[in-house]
Amino acid sequence: MLRRYVPALRLAWQILPRMTTIPSFHGRAVAFLAHGLDQVGAYDAAITTYDYMIDRLPSHHPGSQQMRIARSIAHLNNGQLADADTGLRGLRRQVAAQSYPPIQATLRFACLLQQIRTNHFAEACEEAETLQEGLRPLGVEAGYGHALMALAWHVQSDAPHHTLGGDEAATWWSRATRLLPPGVLTARFPELDAVDLAYPAAPTLSSVINAPATNVAGT
């Protein structure tokens, strides 16, 4: 989770055979493998691993819902738009009926990614007002959603009726880079390179740490 996915995958693969006698640990190790494969871009393998987990969990289980959303995100990243759409349609009603904020936030992110991948940038921008609140339960991972919203506004900034598109894109990109470094964002979604080049990133922790402290008395 500190984004050292390749060493983490290697370790998970090594310990997996030892977990077969403890089903709950085995399940967690496989889920971890799926997440890692997804993050390094091995989407086909990730989808296979998600399928393995989904087949073994009850459909109403929150873990199953989380896996199915993650599988839809992998489908979108792998260009399997129809499979992603089928998966997300089935999940919308189910997830709305229960109240696990992280799962609802993950679904919100998946829907945003679907809008971006299907070039529905205008639709994505229309839902911008509720996005920050909607993705908050994801913590720093919400940065991916903010970055995609910046991309949507960046594309829309070329449209004649979106004169403030550039300002909105800059704001969302600033939010995204405040949560995650630009390199991490563009590694996950290469289409964000254009946004990275066009707008300044938020200051990093190391740059503000090195700034001199003011007098505590306020002068």
Binding site: R136, A213, N215
Partner: protein, 277 residues
């Protein structure tokens, strides 16, 4: 989670009394069973084979009844956290029912009181939760390690909330001496930051902020966001204006405006996570 008028009243002395009753009932049952076996051994079986069979069945039934009560209670508590989040009144009603059951195995009785303490802690009723936590921790046997770590974490949180830095130090130092899981270690790190700030050492968490924030990404988002608010206040007091502004801007992305305001006023506090059992 607001507390209801139907909330279960539990006092620390109730735990000792209930453990005593459980132990006495179990001893009585074991004595009765032993007495039956002695009787069967002493009285020639030819005199009453039927009576012997009935007595043996009675022994088995008695032991089964004792075990079933404990098993049923443990099963009903397995999903208590979800019930408490979904239906607070239902959770209180369930607690009221389970508290009246006797006899329970020692570990199940302690788990029941641990659930009450966790619930009261989440409701920010620290006046009830803290004494319960201390009463459970005072029991040497029957408290699982995970529950012990969480009880100590709750005591640190409650002590800091009331400004009792000595109580927080005592609980935190006990936590430092324990072997903890990754999640527990991260939560202890967040508590350590809160403690250092509470005793006026704002400089300490600022010195190690890079490592702290990198590791804290693994915390549940509410705790991670709250840590930013805490560090923002410390950075501002140390005169690190740029760092304070950066932390506050990040806090606004991780927490709602209401949460930031309540955190700053001490009116809201995301709780350390309860462990499933």
């Amino acid at each position: 989670m607001p507390h209801t008028d139907e909330s279960v009243q539990v006092h620390p002395e109730d735990l000792r009394r209930q453990l005593g009753i459980d132990a006495a009932l179990r001893r009585a049952a074991i004595t009765a069973i032993a007495a039956i076996f002695v009787l069967l051994a002493v009285v020639p079986s030819s005199q009453s084979e039927t009576a012997a069979a009935i007595l043996l069945l009675a022994c088995g039934g008695l032991w089964l009844a004792l075990s079933l009560t404990t098993a049923r209670t443990a099963r009903q508590m397995a999903h208590f956290q979800e019930l408490a989040a979904r239906d607070p009144r239902g959770a209180e009603a369930l607690l009221r029912t389970l508290m009246r059951r006797y006899p329970l195995h020692r570990s199940v009785r302690l788990l029941l009181h641990y659930r009450v303490a966790s619930l009261r802690h989440r409701q920010m009723r620290f006046d009830v939760a803290s004494p319960l936590c201390q009463a459970i921790l005072a029991e040497r046997r029957g408290v699982p390690r995970e529950a012990r770590a969480h009880l100590l974490a709750m005591l640190v949180e409650a002590s800091l909330y009331h400004g009792d830095t000595w109580g927080a130090y005592h609980a935190l130092s006990t936590l430092h001496a324990m072997k903890l899981t990754l999640n527990e270690t991260l939560e202890k790190m967040a508590l350590q930051v809160n403690y250092e700030i509470a005793v006026g050492r704002d400089d300490l968490p600022i010195e190690s902020i890079t490592t702290t924030l990198a590791m804290a990404e693994l915390l549940p988002p509410p705790l991670f966001g709250a840590l930013h608010v805490t560090l923002w206040a410390a950075a501002a007091r140390c005169g690190h204006t740029a760092l304070a502004d950066w932390l506050l801007a990040r806090a606004h992305l991780l927490c709602s405006e209401d949460q930031i305001r309540q955190l700053a006023q001490g009116a809201w506090m995301p709780k350390v996570a309860e462990r499933p059992h």
